[in-house]
């Protein structure tokens, strides 16, 4: 039976297990939209194509499945660029389908024509320009294979209007992906198990650095087993949060620019770093010249190009993380590392009190209060989707994630406006989960029209705006490094509660800590979307902080006397 290119597209998506897509129609994708009605797929109409890509991304990160976004040619396609780059940096598997002008018109500057495969070349794992109906099935199937394989990432399939309209017979067998055997394949002769085990068993002060790869490879249990067997403490990256339970006694917490002070000190004092599914990003290492100078390094990553990229390592292993660690487990010796644990406890005792602790109510509303209370009230069980900036770091510090894939945030690209649409995607992927958006007042204003999407889809989504009237993280940099010259960082906003109500979202405004619990509980028990505008202290900063490019152990600590009274007492 002959099918049109448009029908083949949906048939291929269904065969890949797709049940939900996020999109926005337009001229060049109209044939595909027309055909969609015949297939069992939930289409979520977004308010901007950037939102569609973030939703697909949030969907993928929450579920581990491939997220799908769809848009028309020209502006529809270019609006996807930020979301695609976000997914690329954070290794999130999404497939973007775009319409393209008719193949005869390509190159003629036709209405809504843009070279989207050219534009997205450096920010996709791969992309396809499909100009005939025959090529639709192989391209879509290969796109899913590429998006999922190895280090996951975004793939774009650009389909001309005539390819959607034309009909052909489909041979699904022949349309199987034929990826070259070398693609995403570990090369022979990698640093081997014995090299790694020798270093691990000989180390006196080892530290596991756990990244996003822990979740992407499903190695959560293996990492904990490795840590427990060898008595090896774990530090996590921002995207590694949740991969190891925050409550696990060996999990020290987040490393890096706004990581826990004791974690950064532990990295600098370690004699072995076991880097698992992380990529030594500059926000994690600080000055590379002084980074972990006393430590030997083992690096496991499925992406060979990450090995020896930023940090030269002693053993480099390009392999699926779960496979690699599983091979190690029987060989890891039980070594007494109590001296190392005692040293870390000593480091912790000093900085825990000063930097990151529970905060008593002194009449002011601090973001840390809000996040910490949110964590208690949701019993740490929510999927929290954060935006980018101060609130993102506070969330990472004060919300203790015990579950894998329970923090979704834009790490590598640092995309403001990510949170709300990504949370919509996460909620659609996990309809039974409690999903919270934690977002700044700046980032929220970038993508807030997606509130309408949440309402149209009847989503029970909770939104916490950490509203300080500033582009807070940039303001903090101006305070620290630009003599408090606040160029373009004070930002006004609408009355967020009224705005939300106009969208049909229940909303409230909170200015005192005593009101936090009531507002959070009300939102949790509301069965539709609810928003809380937390008007917090305006000029608070995130501590500790390693200035960009500074030595990892040289952190800016919270000044004393502090505007926040910190105590060690819970």
């Amino acid at each position: 039976m002959k099918l049109t290119g448009a029908q083949i597209l949906w048939e291929a998506l269904v065969r890949e297990g797709v049940t939900d897509v996020f999109g926005y129609p337009g001229g060049a994708i109209l044939p595909a939209y027309d055909a969609m009605l015949g297939y069992p797929i939930r289409h979520v109409l977004v308010r901007h194509e950037q939102g569609a890509t973030h939703m697909a991304d949030g969907y993928a990160r929450a579920s581990g499945k491939v997220g799908v976004a769809i848009a028309t040619s020209g502006p529809g396609a270019t609006n996807m660029v930020t979301g695609i780059a976000t997914a690329m940096m954070d290794s999130s598997p999404i497939v973007c389908i775009t319409g393209q002008v008719g193949s005869k018109l390509i190159g003629s500057d036709a209405f809504q024509e843009t070279d989207i495969t050219g534009i997205t070349l450096p920010i996709t794992k791969h992309n396809y320009l499909v100009t005939t109906a025959d090529d639709v099935a192989p391209a879509v199937r290969e796109a899913f294979a590429v998006a999922r394989s190895g280090r996951p990432g975004p793939v774009l399939v650009d389909i001309t209007k005539d390819a959607q309209q034309a009909s052909c017979e489909v041979d699904w067998q022949a349309a199987e992906p034929h990826l070259s055997e070398t693609f995403d394949d570990a090369l022979p002769g990698d640093g081997d198990v014995a090299d790694a085990i020798e270093l691990i068993n000989a180390a006196e002060r080892p530290l596991i650095l756990a990244g996003h790869g822990v979740m992407l490879s499903g190695a959560e249990q293996q990492i904990v087993q490795l840590a427990e067997r060898g008595g090896i403490p774990i530090a996590v990256t921002l995207l590694g949060i949740g991969g190891v339970a925050a409550s696990h006694p060996l999990n020290l917490g987040m490393m890096g620019m706004h990581g826990e002070a004791w974690v950064n000190h532990a990295i600098q004092e370690a004699d072995l770093l076991i880097a698992l599914g992380m990529r030594f990003d500059d926000r994690v290492t600080g000055n590379l010249k002084t980074y972990a100078r006393t430590a030997k390094k083992i690096h496991v990553d499925i992406d060979r190009a990450e090995l020896n990229k930023n940090v030269r390592v002693d053993v480099a292993i390009a392999k699926d993380l779960r496979t690699a660690v599983t091979e190690w487990l029987p060989l890891v010796g039980a070594v007494d590392r109590s001296a190392w644990h005692a040293r870390i406890a000593e480091l912790k005792g000093d900085s825990a009190v000063r930097d990151i602790q529970n905060l008593p109510d002194d009449g002011h509303l601090y973001a840390a209060h809000v996040i910490n209370d949110l964590w208690r009230l949701t019993h740490g069980d929510a999927i929290v989707v954060t935006d980018v900036g101060q609130h993102q770091m506070w969330e990472a510090q004060y919300y203790k994630h015990d579950r894998s894939r329970s923090l979704i945030t834009s790490g590598g690209l640092g995309t403001m406006g990510f949170a709300l649409p990504a949370a919509i995607g996460a909620k659609i992927a996990c309809p039974d989960a409690e999903v919270w958006v934690v977002c700044g007042d700046g980032g929220f204003q970038m993508t807030c029209p997606e509130l309408a999407t949440a309402v149209q889809e009847n989503l029970d989504l909770n939104i916490a705006i950490i509203n300080n009237g500033y582009l807070g993280m940039v303001r903090q940099w101006q305070e620290f490094f630009y003599e408090k010259r606040y160029a373009a960082t004070p930002i006004s906003g609408p009355n967020f509660a009224k705005l939300a109500e106009a969208f049909g979202v229940a909303a409230t405004t909170v200015t005192r800590r005593s009101e936090v619990a009531g507002a959070v509980e009300a939102a949790r028990h509301h069965s539709r979307a609810a928003l809380i505008d937390f008007q917090v202290e305006q000029e608070d900063s995130v501590y500790p902080m390693v200035p960009a490019g500074a030595d990892l152990h040289k952190m800016i600590r919270r000044p004393s006397p502090s505007p926040i009274v910190e105590t060690a007492a819970d």
């Binding site: 450096p122 070398t182 060979r304 090995l307 390009a318």
Partner: protein, 189 residues
Amino acid sequence: MLHTFAIYVDNKPGVLNRVASLFRRRAFNIESLTVGHTETRGVSRMTVVVDTDEYGARRLEAHLYKLVPCRRVDDITTSPSIARDLALIKVAATGDARTHVMQLVDVYRARIVDVSPESLVIETTGTEDKIDSLVEVLRPYGVVEMVRTGRVAMKRGLAPVRRNGAKPAGGPSGDAAPEISGDVSNCSV
């Protein structure tokens, strides 16, 4: 140092762009690049010369393997190999100068492939050094135009080219035991 890569890619539209774009966005400078068909239908071979260190070469190789249309990457820098550049050089030589030029062409085992009243076109194949040297000696006679292909390279012998990157920490990438073969380019076969 200069690294020479032989890169096998699917012969599909836009592949050259993907490879070139990769070099650009990872901040590697291409010294020369040639593309052509191979013995296998549908597969093209690029010879790319890049100035980078051993770590850079290994990373580049790893990045190239992440391209879907890239089938194989050989770093043949340290392997015994034949590297050739082809040049067409137009020299504005008349009268006695023309005779001198023809003698030089003989010495360099080059060929004259076009003669006009005002100029000669010389074709030569060889290493970049040899061609550079020929160009230098011709320069006084008036080189008015020159075109060069850039390096194409191939390993000597039949030993299969090992896929490199075996030791990501570095180390020379040559084969342990290349087959015996020798330079016969000067033999009059």
